[in-house]
């Protein structure tokens, strides 16, 4: 077990190295473009250009440049954005991360609970109108783009019906830290949560239903019925428990990419200062240090989440446990 974890850690470090090298090469070693000018920004003075070149070592060989960049990112953490007048990049991400984590965790909770409920009910009532209705709802959820749904939600709750009893509690766009005001945090996030979760509820409930229906033809489900168990017990303890293996691997990847900045559209629409919005700003301003930092942050999350999913597998599937 310890050995497996260590090996997994080694793999994680290796993957992170690969990603960072790749991102570095794409942004800083593209032939024909001087990274100094890009970091310093448009119309920078020659003094600034010289300072940047010194600081990042752009007059030295590539491996040194890479090492300097990594040192600035992870060790001294003094990577600064010149576009944004010397704003330090790493603390900026550290401030944005809790917002994204709050948004994604809440949405994940909603989508996991609802999709399991919908998928299981649909599979149990396979072929009935309830099944068809739930799956239709899921399809509608998948088909609605999150930015459109977000705008519609804003339109309804912020302007059109804001003065009615139903939506008068909705606060203005923006984020309230959990530590400051938990109730305000909840009120500010509940609509973004739902909007972000809608598509995933659709996908997950359909996947889960399909999985459960496929499992119902398995030999062990027949054994469970031959044992004289109740249909509910067969569906939940034997079917759903086995489907969780697929469900978790899907969830791990989606969750990681969202925390890593994939919730960009939701964050922008609802004015939440999360990592996604930070990436969005960095891209519009072509703020290279910030792009570098957000991409690395996102990569770390995806890779870590994968590692967590692998470890969860060990608990969920005894067959995997022994294969290691």
């Amino acid at each position: 077990m310890m050995m497996a974890l260590l090996r997994r850690l080694g793999q994680t470090v290796f993957v992170l190295f690969g990603i960072s090298a790749l991102v570095f090469l794409v942004f800083f070693a593209t032939p024909g473009a001087d990274p100094t000018a890009r970091i310093a920004g448009r119309n920078a003075s020659p003094q600034t250009m010289e300072k940047v070149r010194q600081e990042y070592g752009f007059d030295r060989p590539l491996p040194v440049q890479y090492a300097t960049m990594m040192k600035k990112l992870f060790i001294t953490q003094d990577l600064a954005s010149y576009v944004d007048r010397g704003e330090l990049v790493v603390p900026e991400i550290a401030r944005a991360a809790p917002v994204t984590v709050s948004l994604v965790c809440g949405a994940a909770l909603i989508w996991v609970v609802l999709s399991i409920a919908m998928g299981t009910i649909a599979a149990a009532l396979k072929g009935t109108w309830i099944d068809r209705g739930l799956m239709m709802l899921g399809l509608i959820g998948i088909s609605m783009p999150v930015f459109w749904l977000g705008q519609v939600a804003n339109l309804i709750t912020q302007s059109r019906y804001h003065d009615t009893w139903l939506f008068s509690w909705v606060p203005g766009l923006g984020y309230v830290p959990l530590t400051e005001n938990p109730w305000g945090w909840f009120k500010a996030l509940v609509i973004p949560w739902i909007v972000l979760a809608v598509m995933f509820i659709g996908i997950y409930s359909r996947v889960l239903r399909a999985d459960l229906v496929a499992l119902s033809g398995e030999d062990f489900m027949r054994t469970a019925r031959a044992k004289g168990l109740s249909p509910t017990r067969i569906l939940l303890r034997h079917g759903l428990r086995t489907s969780m293996v697929t469900f978790v691997s899907l969830f791990g990847l989606d969750f990681a990419q969202l925390v890593g900045g994939g919730a960009l559209l939701t964050e922008v629409v609802f004015g939440l200062p999360g990592v996604g919005r930070l990436t969005y700003q960095a891209l519009t301003n072509l703020d290279l240090p910030l792009i570098m930092a957000t991409v690395m942050y996102s990569a770390v999350f995806v890779v870590l989440a994968n590692a967590v999913v692998d470890i969860l597998y060990l608990f969920l599937d005894p067959r995997v446990r022994d294969a290691r």
Binding site: G127, E218, D219, F220, R222, T223, A224, R225, A226, K227, G228, L229, S230, R233, R237, H238, R241, T242, V245, L316, D317, P318, R319, D322
Partner: protein, 390 residues
């Protein structure tokens, strides 16, 4: 449908009459099992033999009420201890399943839920039918596993299905099936996925169940050797219809149906000159929709003639009498005027006996029985005799 219920003391454990199962397909009903009838007494082992697709498993699944495809039609009657199984509501069936009628499946690897330990799954069945604490259930589980010849049962109970060998898994499966002391055990090809030595051990175990647990067994198989070794009575299914039925010794000695005879002829002989090629039955069984109007076996039968072809399929006619009641002579054990006083025990769905030209007894019978007197079932198993343990 004969529905008269005999007094429970004399009634067989399971009495199946005219069982038909049809599945809908493209607007038509496809008959998979047609008019299958048999009885199974207490502590009897009945072998249901047939090729793949002959309706063996469907028959068993219909008895357990496990067929739930939409539109399926099950008619006829199956009385289990006087209770009608056909059309019994699921809720009532659930109480019988696992407790009164248990089932063992072909592939023990896929028959266990992969994410739970063996012990957990056996406990689950016990606790589904009896009010026992977790601890008591586990104690029974370990005891059962030990009785099934599982080494180190307490630790095996804590292992996952994939960690056990095929033989151990099948033993665990049997332990699970027996956990509530069922009076009927349906074994659907329990040895097909196992190698021959383990096969023989599992068959020994199944044979011993009737003395230790008093269970009757309905053994489904496609292996004549398994039948010869294990079953008291044999029922040969061909293309969803009963081809022949009778006590195993009688049926193996004097097959009344050309299909049975051909099946037996394809078993490699143990002594005598080695045949260059084993006889095989030419062709393949008909698809359920293309089943001939007359005898389903007619297209492949060497004895086929005009009377075989028109509908309806030939009915079961008596072809053999109880060899213990009749004089021990091959000639009189066959249908003849010499033995009208005893009850017929063997029936074949063939026109030949009625036409007065029954099949000749198997030539090897006397040699076989002479060489193996002590064995109750009487016949050296065919394909895996070499793998017999002890």
């Amino acid at each position: 449908m004969p529905a008269e219920i005999a007094p429970p003391m004399t009634a067989p454990l399971l009495d199946v009459r005219d069982l038909c199962v049809s599945f809908p397909s493209r607007g038509r009903m496809i008959p998979i099992v047609e008019h299958v009838s048999f009885t199974l007494g207490e502590r009897d082992i009945l072998g249901l033999v047939g090729e793949s697709g002959s309706g063996k498993s469907v028959t068993a699944m219909a008895l357990m009420g496990l067929i739930d495809s939409p539109g399926v039609q099950i008619t006829g009657s199956a009385l289990f201890r006087g209770q009608e199984l056909v059309g019994m509501p699921q809720k009532q069936l659930r109480r019988l399943r696992g407790r009164e009628i248990a089932m063992i499946f072909q592939d023990p690897m896929t028959a266990f839920t992969p994410v739970y330990t063996i012990g957990w799954q056996i406990d689950e069945q016990i606790r589904a039918h009896e009010r026992l604490s977790r601890k008591q259930a586990r104690a029974r589980t370990v005891e059962l596993l030990a009785e099934m010849g599982v080494p180190d049962p307490a630790r095996t109970a804590d292992r996952y299905p994939h960690q056990l060998s095929g033989g151990l898994r099948q033993r665990a499966m049997i332990a699970m099936a027996l956990s509530c002391n069922p009076s009927l055990l349906i074994a659907d090809e329990p040895t097909t996925a196992l190698d021959v030595t383990v096969q023989a051990q599992i068959l020994d175990l199944i044979r011993s169940l009737r003395s230790t647990y008093g269970s009757s067994v309905l053994l489904i198989t496609h292996d004549m050797g398994v039948v010869a070794e294990t079953c008291d009575t044999t029922l040969v299914l061909y293309s969803g219809r009963v081809a022949e039925t009778g006590p195993t010794e009688v049926l193996f000695a004097h097959p009344g149906h050309p299909y049975t005879a051909a099946l037996l002829a394809s078993i490699p002989p143990l002594d005598g000159p080695r045949p260059h090629r084993l006889p095989a039955i030419a062709g393949a069984p008909p698809a359920p929709l293309e089943r001939p109007a007359g005898c389903a076996f007619a297209p492949r039968c060497t004895y086929v003639h005009d009377t075989c072809l028109p509908a309806p399929p030939p009915p079961l006619v008596p072809t053999g009498y109880d060899p213990l009641a009749a004089p021990q002579d091959d000639a009189t054990a066959q249908v003849s005027a010499a033995a009208p006083s005893t009850q017929p025990v063997q029936f074949a769905a063939c026109v030949l006996p009625a036409e007065g030209t029954p099949l000749p007894p198997r030539l090897t019978y006397s040699e076989l029985s002479a060489g193996d007197e002590a064995d109750a079932t009487g016949f050296p198993p065919s394909s895996f005799a070499a793998g017999e343990p002890h």
